[in-house]
């Protein structure tokens, strides 16, 4: 708790243009930094300010977007002539918020289990990854499914999780030539990251499997992303038959 408080206390506030500010807690990826990010985002959710448009959580900080025309920078004591007055007013507000954050007892993190059909047509790079590490494909699956993962942030594409916790022994460089289209649901490894593609996109990740779960659910306007920053993640192996059964089930429209 104290280490989180320290991160919050030592936050740096930096301008992102004239309509956003980055509240940065560190320059490295770390679970404690992540807790500070979560605590601050929760606080902003409770105490938004007039003119704030949205906030985005990331690995090491939270970026707060606002409309400078809706922020009153009048009445600032000796404003800095180089800095936008709206920025200075927002910084003052956020600093006040930071100094008063009550860290609630952390909610038990959600644990989301992701079924994965490894290898074969769904994971065309599984063999190459195994070969790269001098392992069998089954060993790679075992290690990948055995990891304890944390969702640090959602970004890049809708519902795409930036996940920490890949066992170092199966970290694998990206493919030399990226694929033009990676199918939706693909589970991949890129360096020390693992993740799931919510939409078909081009990319250079090593694809080791695929999940039938929909990570991006635009029909749920409140929560279009299956995963949230702070979630614990587990991957578990399913057969192709199970995959197909789940996929068919998933195609039934939700109530």
């Amino acid at each position: 708790m104290d280490d989180i408080r320290e991160k919050l206390r030592n936050a740096k506030l930096l301008p992102v243009g004239e309509a956003a500010v980055l509240v940065s807690f560190d320059t490295k990826i770390d679970p404690v930094v992540h807790q500070a990010v979560r605590a601050f985002a929760a606080c902003l959710e409770q105490h938004p300010f007039k003119g704030m448009t949205e906030y985005v959580e990331a690995f090491t900080g939270v970026t707060v977007f606002y409309d400078p025309a809706k922020i009153c920078g009048e009445g600032l004591l000796q404003p800095d002539p180089e800095q936008a007055y709206s920025y200075q007013a927002v910084v003052r507000y956020l600093q006040k918020l930071l100094s008063g954050i009550e860290i609630a007892a952390q909610d038990e993190p959600r644990c989301v289990r992701i079924p994965v059909c490894y290898g074969g047509a769904y994971g065309p790079d599984l063999e190459a990854v195994a070969e790269y590490h001098g392992m069998t494909a089954q060993e790679v699956i075992h290690l990948h499914a055995g990891g304890a993962y944390l969702v640090y942030m959602i970004g890049f594409a809708p519902g795409f999780p930036y996940v920490g916790g890949l066992p170092a022994c199966i970290a694998t460089p990206r493919r030399k030539s990226p694929r033009l289209a990676i199918p939706k649901g693909s589970v991949g490894i890129a360096g020390s990251q693992t993740g799931v593609y919510p939409l078909e996109t081009p990319g250079g990740w090593q694809l080791i499997g695929r999940t039938p779960l929909a990570l991006f659910r635009p029909e749920d306007q409140e929560n279009p992303s299956l995963l949230r920053a702070g979630d614990r993640l587990e991957f578990y192996e399913i057969t192709q038959q199970e995959y197909e059964a789940m996929e068919n089930e998933g195609s039934v429209p939700r109530p």
């Binding site: 990331a58 970004g155 279009p224």
Partner: protein, 335 residues
């Protein structure tokens, strides 16, 4: 009322001011590339400024308009005509008889906007009507408009309904009638330098690179789209190789990958892991949205305070325009 798409044009999609509030889920903002022109087109037909309009790129579509439709064109001049007669931009135009609105090609600017009185009646997805092409959501069935599509228009304002009634009584041989007044927005095509602030990782770049960025010109290459403009010019180098942790990105960020800058725009991804040398000021983004391939961009460095002042000035101007347009429309409505 409805509009039928006879030909799609190069890239025609419905866009509004964007899908804000969902970036924390990785959902892109999207929205018009030139939000100034989008808002203006809407004001000219008495819509809320953030209503969705058609964004047309370089080669506009061919549209079948029904008698009684009131529309306004803003942004790029894409040579609009009806029955061979030029259709004036930046003012409300009243369609007297069913007719085809045709666009001949681009004369000035890159993106034209067409707003109709009442707006477009498409579902609001996560607070916005903007088309999100890759995720296939928003706009018209989540995609760019195609030949054969029919889009319905919404319910227009009272003044617009009054104007429509008045126009219907007028005997006219012409397929359309336009008001004589218009708004001058030539500033969005000015070739003056694009103003920018230092980006988050500005200090990571060599002094030479920082100097070059704000003094040399950069070419907008063909590999440019709504996501971003890939620029070509002086190679930009970091002082030393550095690992960058992905962080959120704002409209107008200039990130550098492989020594070349990319100016990130309406369809930018929500987060990115490349260092950012600069951030274009809000007030200059409409001009950026109107740049065509092969033009040179020059950047000039301004302070954050300067950026704020220019933005507030532009918002003030928009407010003034809104008031005077509203007054003109009231006059047209005979109120």
């Amino acid at each position: 009322m409805s509009i039928r798409i006879v030909k799609s044009g190069l890239l025609t999609s419905l866009q509004d001011l964007g899908r804000t509030g969902y970036q924390k889920f990785g959902v892109l903002v999207n929205g018009a590339m030139d939000t100034f022109s989008l808002r203006l087109a809407n004001l000219l037909v008495d819509n809320a400024p953030g209503e969705a309009a058609m964004e047309m790129t370089l080669q506009g579509p061919e549209l079948l308009l029904a008698a009684g439709t009131i529309f306004a064109l803003s942004g790029a001049d894409l040579a609009p005509t009806i029955k061979g007669k030029a259709v004036p931009m930046l003012r409300p135009v009243f369609v007297m008889k069913d007719c085809i609105l045709h666009f001949g090609g681009y004369r000035r600017g890159c993106r034209g906007y067409l707003a109709v009185a009442g707006g477009f009646d498409v579902p609001v997805v996560m607070g916005s009507k903007s088309t999100y092409l890759r995720a296939a959501i928003g706009g018209y069935e989540g995609r760019a408009l195609q030949a054969g599509d029919t889009i319905h228009t919404g319910i227009c304002s009272e003044s617009m309904a009054l104007i429509r009634q008045r126009m219907a009584l007028r005997a006219s041989e012409e397929p359309f009638v336009a008001v004589p007044w218009f708004v001058d927005t030539a500033f969005i095509f000015e070739s003056a330098s694009i103003r920018a602030m230092k980006g988050m990782q500005y200090d990571w770049f060599t002094e030479q690179s920082c100097r070059d960025f704000f003094s040399e010109g950069f070419l907008v290459t063909m590999q440019s789209d709504r996501m971003g403009y890939r620029l070509e010019g002086a190679r930009l180098a970091l002082r030393e190789p550095r690992e960058m942790i992905s962080e959120p990105i704002a409209f107008g960020a200039v990130q550098v990958a492989d020594g070349n800058p990319i100016l990130l725009l309406a369809d930018r991804q929500t987060t990115g892991g490349y260092p950012k040398i600069a951030q274009v000021i809000l007030a200059d983004l409409p001009r950026v949205g109107q740049m065509v391939f092969d033009t040179q961009i020059h950047f000039s460095l301004v302070s954050q305070r300067e950026a704020e002042l220019r933005y507030l000035e532009q918002e003030k101007y928009m407010e003034t325009l809104a008031k005077s347009i509203w007054q003109k429309l009231e006059d047209e409505a005979g109120r």
